[in-house]
């Protein structure tokens, strides 16, 4: 498929000189690292523990950093540290919910149509706490993909590297995450 080829090679990557120090290359991504740790651990103290451990690991592994996107490099370490802390298999293919296989590319649109989209109310209300709850309620493999794309602004290729799955899986997870978020928002709005 043509878009696959596109997805594999695009987005210019900033080449980082190996001579640039850790603090110039990696430390600017500390906020990104905290953001991912916070969304995956869901608890502020646990997130800080993971962040501390991940930053120490990053410092240790930094001599092996060979350029590329430093944010993606650091976030992969954060993600691995999270999975260690949660005792999860880093490369697990998650058991899909009923009716969905992990690599299902044929994706249903089970969405409210534009005319009756109750989640619009939630968008307008800007109710951060409820949004946080909705996102926190997503399974971790959907949550991490969504956060890496929408908050960390990584490319599909970088997300695939961080989460250790093929790009096709990134695309279907991202779609399912967005769909699940909209559905959860709509359900919550209706029940109010």
């Amino acid at each position: 498929m043509q878009h696959r080829r596109r997805a594999f090679g695009l987005r210019s990557e900033v080449p980082a000189s190996p001579r640039e120090p850790f603090e110039a290359v990696i430390l600017p991504e500390l906020d990104a690292a905290h953001n991912l740790a916070r969304w995956l651990m869901r608890d502020a103290n646990a997130a800080e523990d993971v962040l501390q451990e991940a930053m120490l690991r990053a410092l240790t592994y930094f001599p092996s950093f060979r350029g590329g996107n430093p944010r993606a490099w650091l976030l992969q370490i954060v993600r691995n540290t999270v999975y260690d802390a949660l005792k999860l298999d880093r490369a697990a293919q998650f058991v899909p919910l009923a009716g969905w296989s992990e690599d299902d590319d044929i994706v249903g649109i089970d969405l409210p149509s534009g005319e009756d989209d109750p989640e619009t109310t939630l968008i307008k209300s800007r109710d951060l706490r409820r949004l946080q709850e909705l996102i926190s309620g997503l399974p971790i493999e959907l949550r991490e993909t969504l956060v890496l794309r929408e908050l960390e602004e990584l490319s599909y290729k970088d997300i695939a590297e961080v989460t250790q799955v093929p790009i096709g899986t990134v695309m279907s997870r991202l779609w399912r995450a967005r769909r699940a978020l909209l559905q959860a928002a709509a359900t919550q709005e209706r029940s109010r």
Partner: protein, 260 residues
């Protein structure tokens, strides 16, 4: 999954999403646009993607809070081998680290503290840096990492967090009760900060091993309304920073040095 929904779908919705995420080139996007004109499923998908992004737009990003950032920096600095770089290089590097965090809505007081750091001239005198650190710590929630009036609680807390063991004394009987301690980052290295109280005023006592290069510094100083007292003891450097009167801060320094 509902069969009627399936048949209504189009196998190009993931392409619609790829375009939405900026992953298609112009030719691919043009091909998709031609298809989408006649495909209700793809049009619905594009609208849904837009709504999903609006849901996540703004306020959900979680930058490292100031105190978390400070503790991470201290841990990293403690983990690194002693840097051969001169002090002023470390200091300017530290300023760069801090200024990297400016964009993320730090409080006004913190911004002021950062400004102090940034304009501080290079040199071996950490006075301005200490005052900036003191001001930063006075923000709610930033003062202590370990809250205890018991020095036998505060002292072991530093174990494993620093490569030295700071002496901890309670000066309650002298009118300066211990409130707690925290890890801080001053002069290019992690340091211990003990927090004492005098009436409603806070006194920060910064401790690190060794003495500063660059010759003798005056034992007292004043900067932006804060008073500073400096002494050495047992191979360590001590800096007390507070907004109490200079005489009271001197009392504190003397009481500390007299206490067992």
């Amino acid at each position: 999954m509902n069969e009627t929904l399936r048949t209504r779908d189009c196998d190009k919705v993931l392409l619609v999403q790829a375009e939405f995420d900026g992953e298609l080139d112009a030719a691919e996007a043009a091909t998709l646009a031609a298809h989408r004109q006649h495909c209700p499923a793809c049009q619905a998908a594009a609208a849904a993607l837009q709504r999903a992004r609006l849901l996540m737009d703004g306020g959900l990003y979680e930058p490292a809070p100031d105190d978390v950032r400070r503790r991470v920096m201290a841990r990293l600095a403690a983990a690194q081998p002693p840097a051969p770089a001169p002090l002023w290089a470390l200091r300017s590097r530290m300023r760069a680290w801090w200024s990297a965090g400016i964009g993320f809505g730090l409080g006004a007081a913190c911004a002021a503290a950062l400004a102090l750091l940034i304009i501080a001239p290079s040199g071996p005198d950490p006075t301005q840096e200490l005052v900036a650190s003191h001001i930063r710590a006075l923000q709610p929630g930033h003062l202590e990492d370990v809250v205890s009036t018991d020095r036998h609680t505060v002292k072991p807390w530093f174990d494993g967090r620093l490569d030295f063991a700071p002496p901890v004394k309670d000066l309650k009987n002298e009118g300066f009760p211990l409130k707690g301690g925290r890890l801080d980052y001053v002069d290019g290295r992690p340091v211990a900060a003990l927090v004492y109280q005098r009436d409603k005023h806070i006194i920060d006592l910064y401790i690190w091993p060794g003495v500063l290069v660059g010759g003798r510094l005056p034992p007292t100083a004043e900067y932006h309304g804060y008073n500073i007292v400096h002494w050495r003891w047992g191979g360590m450097t001590f800096w007390a920073v507070s907004d109490v009167e200079p005489a009271q801060l001197s009392d504190f320094a003397q009481a500390w040095q007299r206490a067992l």
